[in-house]
Amino acid sequence: MLSRKAILGASLLASVALMSSSAIAQTIGFSQIGSESGWRAAETTLTKSQAEERGIDLKFADAQQKQENQIKALRSFIAQGVDAILIAPVVATGWDAVLQEAKEAEIPVVLLDRMVDSSDDLYLTAVGSDLVHEGNVAGQWLVDELGGKDCNVVELQGTTGSSPAIDRKNGFEQAINGHDNIKLIRSQTGDFTRTKGKEVMESFLKAEDGGKNICALYAHNDDMAVGAIQAIKEAGLKPGEDILVVSIDAVPDIFQAMAAGEANATVELTPNMAGPAFDALDAYFKDGTKPAKFIQTESKLYTQNDDPQKVYEEKKDLGY
């Protein structure tokens, strides 16, 4: 009698375990673009660690910046019968055929960080950040920080014509629009690099009365801000006090500058795109809830009050 009960209970448990195992994804393929930047290396590191935390068997394929490698990787994932596929597409076009194959094999595909030009019923969802929103958060921080004081802002743009440069500029301008105390007096490209950031900032300082006329710097990425901070210091001014510094990306080095009081704020472009993707997949496998077609990651603002030294320690080993 007792043993029969035990068997019943055991089989019940087993069936529950079986059900739950079919409810969450076991094996997920991840086709990464490559490792062209520190940010992408951090994205890879975080995707792997997120998968490990959730007990997911992650099959990782590095495409070395080539679309053909990504298509090959996707086909091999489909042949292996993975439960789901994550892909950071290197280009926007040319994905229709392979996405159709994945759809026919009933394998949900989640896009990370970049979009594709294919019809949106070919993939489950896309996870990414909103570049305009990032610029907006940076601009809003400046508006709040100044609280109505007059301020001349100089801007270091990204590579001319690139979408992050255009969107981050627009977002910032939207935020300061209507605040007449804030004026954007100079804007030049620093090509997203430290060297150019420093060189352009030097010329801004010369052109604006040795920097006395500048109250804040907005840089489209942290690297340019790091270069500009050095230029400000060499001109005999205090970055972070004489000239406020706000930038975007949240790479480890800007946290060091913030800990030293030389930078004021940065907006994070999170490399953790996989977390929200796994969450969406979990919900989808559990009860079939279809996520929205675009999941926007948080553009978190970090300031000097957020213990920058600690954030630096957390971030420095991610591969940035």
Partner: protein, 341 residues
């Protein structure tokens, strides 16, 4: 005396162009020539031009010698990235300043040696031979930095980028000293003339007893050496080695500096001083654009337009045209003579 006069006449077009560009900037931006002393060093836009122009000036020194032998060195930008990466790696690994600089310079010399062997012993055309390192070099630099920007805080190494000597920024001191030293070496010995003769006719020079192989290797090694100095400066300037962007496209600016300096891409006669002035002209244009406050979309168009004007003014066709207008009498006489013959 006549030597000095000839030298001045040689660099006159470059000096006039530089003066013209500087005048143009000071019209657009009146405070341009204001120089003050801040933190024990000269501070002002003209100093920025000398300072920011340092990498291209250094590359132009090596490039002039290479071009004088009828060669070209496309790899200098990538060699800069390699040497910057080596110096950052060395200092973060705890080596002292001397060994770090030595390793970076040796890396540059090895790169130059590689190019020189490909060109002189294997007879590969210089543009192809140096293209190999141009493409592979950034990969090598990335391997050294492991794909990230390798930052350092060693004040001694940083001194080479943002320190100052005799109130001049350190990069300015380095390029001026290197330029004068190499000019002195090639012009006080027969070396300069031998380089020119190899550039004009390699075969005839070899037959005349010049060891052209060694000479060719020597100019590429010099170019590697200059690129190493430029790489160290670029890394020290931003306190980090950026393998992706350090020296990117600077090989083209260096070639342009040599061309503006009046050295023919077909080899032969060269002037290092004129190339250095050429490098300053390019940097003056860059700095001028930044000061002018034009939207960044115009940067490249303005730069291209100014460079085009400079090259047109210096072009042989225009120069013969000018000579025709300047000395009509002589040409008339010459014409009559040909008619009577």
């Amino acid at each position: 005396m006549s030597g000095t006069a000839r030298f001045l006449r040689r660099i006159a077009p470059q000096l006039i162009t530089l003066a013209f560009v500087l005048a143009l900037i000071s019209v657009m931006f009146p405070g341009f020539f204001n120089i003050s002393i801040a933190n024990g060093r000269l501070y002002g836009s003209p100093i920025d031009i000398l300072n920011r122009g340092a990498p291209v000036a250094l590359l132009a020194i090596g490039m002039t010698l290479v071009i004088a032998t009828r060669g070209i060195d496309l790899s200098v930008g990538a060699v800069m990235a390699i040497c910057g990466a080596v110096s950052a790696w060395g200092i973060t690994q705890g080596y002292d300043l001397g060994s770090t600089l030595l390793m970076a310079v040796v890396a540059g010399l090895v790169c130059g040696l590689w190019n020189g062997i490909l060109v002189s012993f294997l007879g590969i055309q210089p543009i192809v031979a140096t293209l190999i390192l141009m493409v592979a070099g950034r990969g090598i630099a990335q391997l050294i930095t492991e794909g990230a920007i390798l930052t350092f805080n060693d004040p001694n190494l940083i001194f080479f980028g943002s320190g100052s000597l005799f109130t001049l920024p350190m990069p300015v001191v380095i390029w001026i000293v290197t330029g004068l030293l190499i000019t002195w070496i090639v012009r006080r010995t027969a070396l300069g003339m031998l380089i020119e003769s190899v550039g004009i006719n390699l075969r005839a020079s070899t037959l005349a007893g010049i060891n052209s192989r060694v000479l060719l290797i020597a100019v590429y090694v010099t170019s590697g050496f200059c690129a190493a100095l430029a790489g160290i400066i670029a890394a020290a300037d931003i306190r980090g080695a950026d393998a992706n962007n350090a020296g990117l496209w600077l090989e083209l600016d260096a070639i342009l500096a040599v061309v503006i300096g009046g050295t023919s891409l077909l080899g032969g006669r060269f002037s290092l001083i004129a190339s250095l002035i050429g490098a300053m002209i390019i940097q003056a244009v860059n700095t001028g654009i930044l000061l002018s406050g034009f939207p960044p979309e115009f940067n490249l168009v303005i730069k291209a337009a100014i460079i085009l004007i400079i090259l047109v003014v210096q072009s042989p066709a225009l120069r013969t045209g000018m000579a025709f207008f300047r000395k009509p009498r002589q040409t008339d006489v010459a014409k009559k003579e040909t008619v009577t013959q």
